[in-house]
Symmetry: C2
Subunit: 121 residues, 2 copies
Amino acid sequence: MPEQNGVEVCEFLCAHESVVAEVRAHMPDEDTLFELAEFYKVFGDSTRIRILTVLCRHEMCVCDLATILSMNQSAISHQLRILKQARLITARREGKQVFYSLADDHVHHLLDTAIEHLAER
Amino acid sequence: MPEQNGVEVCEFLCAHESVVAEVRAHMPDEDTLFELAEFYKVFGDSTRIRILTVLCRHEMCVCDLATILSMNQSAISHQLRILKQARLITARREGKQVFYSLADDHVHHLLDTAIEHLAER
DNA sequence: TAAACATATGAACAATCATTCATATGAAGG
DNA sequence: CCTTCATATGAATGATTGTTCATATGTTTA
């Protein structure tokens, strides 16, 4: 049994009191952790990952994205909106078309390392 | 209008053919991108992020986690299973209790940088 | 071995979310 | 202006998922 200041067994809910207290004191605030989860959630969809991967190579208009990913225009537009709200991509209108690209090098780098990481597995 | 090998307007679905062809040729395969999305999906839930944040500081048994996060034991157990399947955490049984901890330093580092990154915003 | 305790798990439910369909907005060209 | 084309968006739908409840598994102790 690991001892933590002599407290080793459950009290009410089996709490190792001192450890619980210590961890609680150092927890980042709820809002930050929620935001963090929301940020990851955006990456947690294969359509959005595919869009980002494409934009990693080249800026792209909506219908080209739809062609490449074999999905209809509406679905792509909806996902682009989510990516834009998360500030991962930016839009540039040129006549009738709208060209999307990665928001900054940081997103680019984030994607590159993620793909590398997967390749290593 | 940006020109791509002279093709600048939509054909069937407004495709800038050469760019589409070039991007298609360099796309990582679907399975890899799907896996990547699945990986991020695990981080895309605030309960799981909170669990990981706690384990970042200290290994922890299930009921202590439940206490800290003010959730019932079953909910925690379900989420721990998901984190374990994703190889983000490992379990160590000690008598009646099971202690969970981060799988390796890589996960630890990944979390630290993520929280840092959010703080900067 | 029976009881108590910590954890795991299956089923059910509610909530969230991605996609589709229909339609609206906004720009270019006749 | 009216039409055509590219994109955006609201509503509806089907699928996925987090949590809860009830219960099972596995371990210790009386």
